[in-house]
C-alpha cells in the first residue's frame, strides 16, 4: 500500500506536497490548498518540519529587510544623482 505520510521528521518533504506547502507558507494558498497541506503536515513529520522552517525562513527574510543609510536616502530623495561613468 502506498504510504503518503512519513513519521520521521528528517529528510525532504513529500514530493507531491511541496507545492502546497510552499503556497501555505507564503500565504498564497486558497482555503482548500491550505487545508490539504496542513492536514497532511499534521500527520507527516517531514512535511510538518518543512512547513515550520519555511514559514520561519520567510519571516526572517521579511525581517532582514533594511532601509538604506540615512545619507544615501537623503542624496536620492534630494535628487543628487550622479552619472555612473
Amino acid at each position: 500500500m502506498l504510504k503518503l505520510h512519513r513519521d520521521d521528521p528528517e529528510g525532504p518533504p513529500c514530493r507531491h506536497m511541496e507545492h502546497f506547502l510552499q503556497k501555505t507558507a507564503d500565504g498564497s494558498a486558497n482555503f482548500f490548498e491550505r487545508w490539504y497541506a496542513k492536514s497532511h503536515a499534521n500527520g507527516c513529520g517531514r512535511c510538518n518540519r518543512f512547513l515550520d522552517r519555511l514559514i520561519e525562513t520567510l519571516g526572517q527574510l521579511k525581517q532582514a529587510k533594511q532601509d538604506p543609510d540615512a545619507d544615501v536616502m537623503e542624496r536620492l530623495a534630494k535628487g543628487n544623482w550622479r552619472n555612473p561613468e
Binding site: P13, Q22, E56, T57, K62, A64, K65, D67, P68
Partner: protein
C-alpha cells in the same frame, strides 16, 4: 519618495554592492521622471522596478561586467536530505549573503515577493515574465536558498 527604499534594496540584490545600487536608483528616478507621461497608472512599483532592471543592466555594461549565468528550469533538483543539519538561526546579513549567491533568475523573484511583499502579478510584471514562471522560480529559488543556508552552517 516612498518607493526609494524598495528600489534601493532591489538594486542591491541585483548589483550586490552599495555604490552601484545607489547609482542605479538615481538613474532609475531620473529615467522615471523623464518617462512619467508614458506610465499607464497601474502598478507603480512594477514600472519602477522594470526601469531599475534596465538601469542596472546599463551600469553593468558600462562596467564591462559579464551577464550572470542563469540556471535552466530543468536543472537537477537540489538534494534535500539535509534538513536535520539546518539551524535556522541565520538572520540578517547571513541570510542576505545566502540570497545574493543565488542566480538572478531566482534571487529577484524572492527579493520581490518574499522580502518586498509584492503580489505575484505585480512582481511578474516588474520582471516581465509570466506569473507561472515567476512562481516556479520562487519555489525553486527557495530550495536553492535553503541549500545555500546549509552550506553556511558550521560542521
Amino acid at each position: 519618495m516612498a518607493e526609494i527604499p524598495v528600489l534601493y534594496r532591489v538594486a542591491k540584490r541585483i548589483m550586490r554592492n552599495d555604490a552601484d545600487a545607489e547609482d542605479a536608483v538615481g538613474q532609475t528616478l531620473l529615467a522615471a521622471t523623464k518617462a512619467w507621461d508614458a506610465f499607464d497608472g497601474r502598478h507603480c512599483r512594477s514600472w519602477l522596478i522594470t526601469i531599475l532592471r534596465n538601469e542596472c543592466a546599463a551600469i553593468g555594461r558600462k562596467r564591462g561586467s559579464r551577464p550572470e549565468i542563469t540556471i535552466e528550469e530543468s536543472a537537477e533538483p537540489v538534494a534535500e536530505d539535509f534538513w536535520q543539519a539546518v539551524e535556522w538561526s541565520l538572520v540578517g546579513d547571513q541570510l542576505m549573503a545566502a540570497l545574493d549567491e543565488l542566480p538572478a533568475d531566482y534571487r529577484l523573484p524572492i527579493a520581490l515577493c518574499d522580502i518586498e511583499e509584492l503580489g505575484y502579478e505585480e512582481a511578474a510584471e516588474a520582471l516581465q515574465i509570466p506569473v507561472g514562471t515567476l512562481k516556479s522560480r520562487i519555489f525553486r529559488g527557495r530550495k536553492l536558498l535553503r541549500a545555500r543556508l546549509i552550506s553556511l552552517q558550521p560542521n
